[in-house]
Symmetry: C2
Subunit: 451 residues, 2 copies
Amino acid sequence: MADPAKTPTAPTGAGSSTPVSPSSDGTDAPALGTDAPAPGSRISRRQLLGTAGATGLALGAAGGATGYAAARSGSADTADAAPLTSLGADTAMFHGKHQAGITTPMQASGHLIAFDLAPGAGRKEATALLRRWSAVAERLMAGESLSGDTEVARDAGPSLLTVTFGFGHSFFGRTGLEKQRPVALDPLPDFSSDHLDKARSNGDLWVQIGANDSLVAFHALRALQKEAGSAARVRWQMNGFNRSHGATARPMTTRNLMGQVDGTRNPKPSDPDFQQRIFVPEKPGGEVPVWMAGGSYAVVRRIRMLLDDWEKLSVKGQEGIIGRHKSDGAPLTGGSETTEPDLDKLGADGTLVVPINAHARITRPDQNGGAAMLRRPFSFHDGFDADGVPEAGLLFVCWQADPARGFVPVQRKLDRGDALSPFIRHEASGLFAVPGGAEKGGYVGQRLLEG
Amino acid sequence: MADPAKTPTAPTGAGSSTPVSPSSDGTDAPALGTDAPAPGSRISRRQLLGTAGATGLALGAAGGATGYAAARSGSADTADAAPLTSLGADTAMFHGKHQAGITTPMQASGHLIAFDLAPGAGRKEATALLRRWSAVAERLMAGESLSGDTEVARDAGPSLLTVTFGFGHSFFGRTGLEKQRPVALDPLPDFSSDHLDKARSNGDLWVQIGANDSLVAFHALRALQKEAGSAARVRWQMNGFNRSHGATARPMTTRNLMGQVDGTRNPKPSDPDFQQRIFVPEKPGGEVPVWMAGGSYAVVRRIRMLLDDWEKLSVKGQEGIIGRHKSDGAPLTGGSETTEPDLDKLGADGTLVVPINAHARITRPDQNGGAAMLRRPFSFHDGFDADGVPEAGLLFVCWQADPARGFVPVQRKLDRGDALSPFIRHEASGLFAVPGGAEKGGYVGQRLLEG
């Protein structure tokens, strides 16, 4: 139940349309690089508080992604509670055309978890589960408590918590919904460089949790796990992280554990084709099931980085593999991070400045039939193995309207000739259909489960 | 080497003595609850930036803990770099009477790592290693790059990075320094409730890393591991987290993964006996070796929480076990978090309101001959096991001038009769002698290794 003592005060921001994002901390996420003021601009703390909760409105304005708006109803009159800072009060909206956690700015803490329906559980149990899960997600994303709350998130604001639900290929057989299974969920092709652990891949149901506070994220993870009850069991679970809000003045992109600027070429909501590349249309056509309207497909890859090998290379060697300068992500042919590379440029020695197998060249949309995906990863580090080798890398999560036109062609090309391949290992893989957001009073997946 | 492009701008704060801590985000750490303004106070972003780096000066003033001051030399004239936000610019000082990471406000991200000297490595190699490690820690804590830097922390400020070095019992035999081994490092007694994994316990050398940005913390971890070279090998490593800066308006304490307010009774630098309880004196007497002047002893316990069992209890049941209200940490006998409990108070049914085996009663210094320790833990969550049980709990780290008078009597008492015992499991343990801070031009442990 809602607990008034917990309700934080987000004084004036609810509903504000000022396109200030308090989460512009070097994130990969789209609108920030273009619309948000640099985090270092001299905006007052009052201003920050005043616009807390407005995250994502810029996204809606720019790209039609209206799934984000201020959710917190003002409770500024609570006299004895100090106002939350921007980070804590930051709120993503549960209801909307799309689910949150796709175009939401990258969060500092994340959990990915997959469930399998329990033996004997079918469509009925899955329907009840999605209904319960949606109710939990809605409350927690608004910063409210649950009945029997563990209180791990108590005192904290929602901290931009997002909970995103998806369905895996196996879900449809278990629930008798095969006819509703999107063709886009057909298993990904095998890639020659895959070293996949099946036990940590796929699953009937997938949940992505992100927040700018680790306790808030853990609290949600635990609440959702408990809510699964006897209907579903944890198949696998992974933890990740990104740069903290405010740790950097860099406005646009973050770095991965290889030290590379990551996400430079992500599509932006201001791109004219952003919506059609990332989201299934409101009125899907052809083979796309109607219940996926406003949805997207998530490809999840646990990509281990072989850091000991990578770090033995010189910076010049690393830059040749990536095709960009390590310092600022600018192409080797010059300019800044956002400058277009001159792919034909030859160096003094007559060879291509951006090598033919450079990662940045191979992944370019114009080299892959226009394939574009929105990358929204978390880094991971699960400690060291017995030899002192870090179990670390990237929880790669990418979003696209059609994986066969987004992830697959790019990965196929990378698989054949990416200079980065010797330094990474794909350890797990998942592909999930993520339906559009729930309507008020509804739940995620309703159009599928009641269709 | 230092990279000018990375040097962040902390405009005016260096050396400021204003006791504003930008890290007062519900931390357990001492001075914040008393001296710092509530995080919600309307201080401007410019003010915040102006005092960035001043963290810990309040501590120095209050308790004589002068190990913290602004380290960043101003580079406000760098025209083309946006100023870092408070979180990124926050700096702990490497040099000083005490090492950083003891009274430093709790950080959002932490790593604990233990090393064993490699076979054949002795005092000479250890000396060179501590010299190298100190140089790395000094640079990274100041937000500077290293030669051959992985660049994982590039663009980010130091984000209150601390690196703290300690020596385990076994270190002294391996280096021929047995005569310098403090009596206080004698192995902790066995506790009946221990389930210790030896491979994840103790070690020759121990390093605690904390930062308010996970990439900054990982970057330091990796740099220190690499610097160990052939001199030492990783014995164990654990990752932890705390509440993010700004996620809560709660000024004083944080919560653990049981949802309990944690750290309420921590000693504060303003306590008259804070220094003598937490730190070895500048002129140690008796059995205390001179090289430990200004040092402290860290007890590290990996405490697994049996959350499935704990969460089955009612809130009332949990509160009886702890002896405090879950909502705000106030004693069951009334008041607020900082109110003294009435330990003799009887309820309507004639029984003690704070049960005789309540955790908060048993751990009280006045019930343990004045034993006091400074608790500065991280929560941990390493995923779920095959049954969906979270491998989660507390990386308990406590600091005291003498573990035999700090940790041991309290733990002995807890071992006998703590109502909390059935819900936790001590899985690993370490005890480390943490020398005072390095002097300018010196390194941590110098008085031991060159003594």
